[in-house]
Amino acid sequence: MSNNDFDIKYVANLARIKLTSDQEDRLGSQLGDILGYVKKLEELDVSNVEPMAHAVPLHNVMRADQVQPSITNEEALANAPKKANGLFVVPKIVE
């Protein structure tokens, strides 16, 4: 759990967030402090502890596979930054 190799550029890229160099410096050093703090968890022996994902005593909640009413194509596209012919428009992906 070392944070010496925390590379803000690399992780921001994974997170798909463009940072200015100022932000890289500031966020990088703040995140270094926070990672230093969470190292606390290394103090505990957790070798025989089960991980807990959530608090609800429910498993594999299923519903019947039935068609239900939903929003229209027009409503689904109402907030789209760009749309055409009932579709979302995105930059070219495949050459």
Partner: protein, 488 residues
């Protein structure tokens, strides 16, 4: 009678007797907002016409025989945190990134509030995407604490707490991921409930950390909070983590009898780091409980010191996945790029504020290849230990009693440059989200100078909201704190 000062209980009685109309009540809130919200800044946006139309509809329903037994909130103006989807209304999560977004549908809590007859209006301020403890991380400016405008209202549901305490609405609905209902309730001086995970549907609530988020009410007293909770609680097939159990009659079953009730004082919460005035106000509240017949005993939650670190790994990991949807394709203010990758980076780089960026990046890191086991899985294991602590303590007592926050409202700007200090303000509230249990914060007194509210926190068993409400109600009935009004 000053209309905007009424409690929900008082207002519904006057609506039922036709002494006042819902339109009067709604107009009183709008007038109040016009008079004071320049200084409070609780409201991000407001659709006045829509609010008055809903009020008129409630008045017609009342005229046609509708009643508050069937619709407990009929005609009552309730504000909503800017995180809920209300059909055709904006939902910004206090972020720039959502631009002119309007919800195409009503979330389940909104549907339930409408069924209960509430006039739901306005979108109140919050920390962006519910990430923060002071309502300073908002693209719409900070909200002020009604007791001292230079101070923060707490967060992330700071707009909810401020709007209730400043009497701009009769109640409000917020969300609590690490204390975001209880902490602002404490710092502003109102009642806030974080229900058990699974008690209230999360469908139509913009997700922050899905295993921790829970919707809950904020109100001027315990009975009002119980009314609001009863209206939003219950199973929802649209939320797979919603639990199919009966919803009690929270208000009808309110009971101030503390005979045989055992309250646990977690010794790990009462070490160093608590402001001396908060400590003495809290100790007086504990004595009051003893005088009222409750038995107090010390309990231990040995892993308390690990809760904040555990939380900031799990919550940011979940947030990094949840907030991936804000990419500029289906919604959001898009910033173009030559390819999808640069479009995503540009859109998110411009649209998200600093704290949101910080948390997404931290969450991405703890889930990334090579670090997943060391951070994320380890934190999930510590979460189990924290849950075991709570299970064991709550076998011995009916509820835990703690201060909600180690200090009173701090000054705006005081902690903004030090995110870790800001995170540590949630130290007493955060475990309850990790364990998925329920919690309440209620007013228990004031600091001397400046006069600022202090909150008392009660933490209960899973689906034990009724017990917590009763324990809170007993204290409230015996004390004057909930009647104090902020000097506005």
């Amino acid at each position: 009678m000053i209309l905007h000062e009424l409690t929900i209980d008082e207002l519904t009685k006057k609506l039922a007797s036709k002494e006042v109309s819902s339109r009067d009540a709604m107009q009183a809130c709008l007038d109040r907002i016009d008079n004071i919200d320049n200084s409070i800044n609780a409201f991000i946006s407001l659709d006045r016409e829509n609010a008055l139309d809903q009020a008129d509809a409630a008045d017609s329903a009342l005229k046609n025989g509708a009643n508050h037994n069937d619709q407990p909130l009929l005609g009552v103006p309730v504000s909503l945190k800017d995180i809920f989807c209300v059909k055709n209304q904006p939902a910004n999560c206090a972020s720039k990134i959502l631009g002119d977004f309007r919800s195409p549908y009503d979330g389940s809590v909104v549907q339930k509030l409408k069924q209960a007859g509430a006039v739901i209006f306005g979108r109140v301020n919050m920390d962006e995407f519910a990430m923060g403890s002071s309502t300073e991380n908002s693209a719409f400016g900070r909200t002020s604490n009604p007791w001292d405008l230079d101070r923060v209202p707490g967060g992330s549901s700071g707009g909810c707490a401020a709007s209730v305490v400043a009497q701009e609405c009769f109640g409000s609905i917020g969300t609590d991921t690490g204390g975001s209902i209880r902490q602002p309730a404490a710092l502003c001086g109102c009642v806030g409930i974080k229900p058990t995970y699974g008690r209230v549907s999360r469908f139509g609530v913009i997700a922050f950390a899905s295993s921790l988020d829970q919707v809950g009410p904020m109100a001027r007293n315990v009975s009002d909070a119980a009314t609001l909770l009863g209206s939003i609680a219950g199973y929802d097939p649209k939320d797979s983590t919603s639990v199919p159990t009966e919803v009690p009659d929270y208000v009808g079953d309110l009971n101030a009898d503390l005979d045989g009730i055992k309250l646990g004082l977690p010794k790990e919460f009462l070490g160093a780091g608590i402001d001396s005035e908060v400590r003495s106000v809290f100790e007086a509240a504990v004595k009051q409980y003893e005088a009222l017949g409750a038995e107090i005993q010390e309990v231990s939650l040995p892993h308390t010191e690990y809760a904040v670190a555990t939380y900031y790994i799990l919550a940011t990991a979940e947030a990094s996945a949840n907030l991936a949807r804000f990419d500029g394709i289906r919604f959001c203010d898009r910033v173009e790029g030559d390819d999808p990758f640069s479009l995503y980076c540009n859109t998110r780089g411009k649209g998200f504020g600093d704290e949101v960026k910080r948390r997404i990046i931290l969450g991405t890191y703890v889930l990334s290849s090579g670090y997943y086991d060391a951070y994320y899985i380890r934190a999930q294991k510590v979460r189990s230990l924290i849950k075991q602590d709570f299970d064991q303590a709550l076998e011995k007592v009916d509820a835990l009693i703690t201060p909600t926050v180690p200090y009173t409202a701090f000054k705006a700007g005081e902690k903004t440059d030090d995110p870790l200090q800001m995170y540590l303000s949630d130290i007493f509230t955060i475990s309850c989200n990790l364990t998925g249990t329920c919690g309440v914060s209620l007013p228990c007194g004031f600091s001397g100078s400046p006069k600022l509210p202090v909150g008392l926190q009660l933490l209960g068993k899973p689906f034990g909201e009724q017990d917590l409400l009763n324990i809170a109600y007993a204290y409230e009935q015996a004390t004057p704190w909930h009647k104090e009004r902020a000097p506005l």
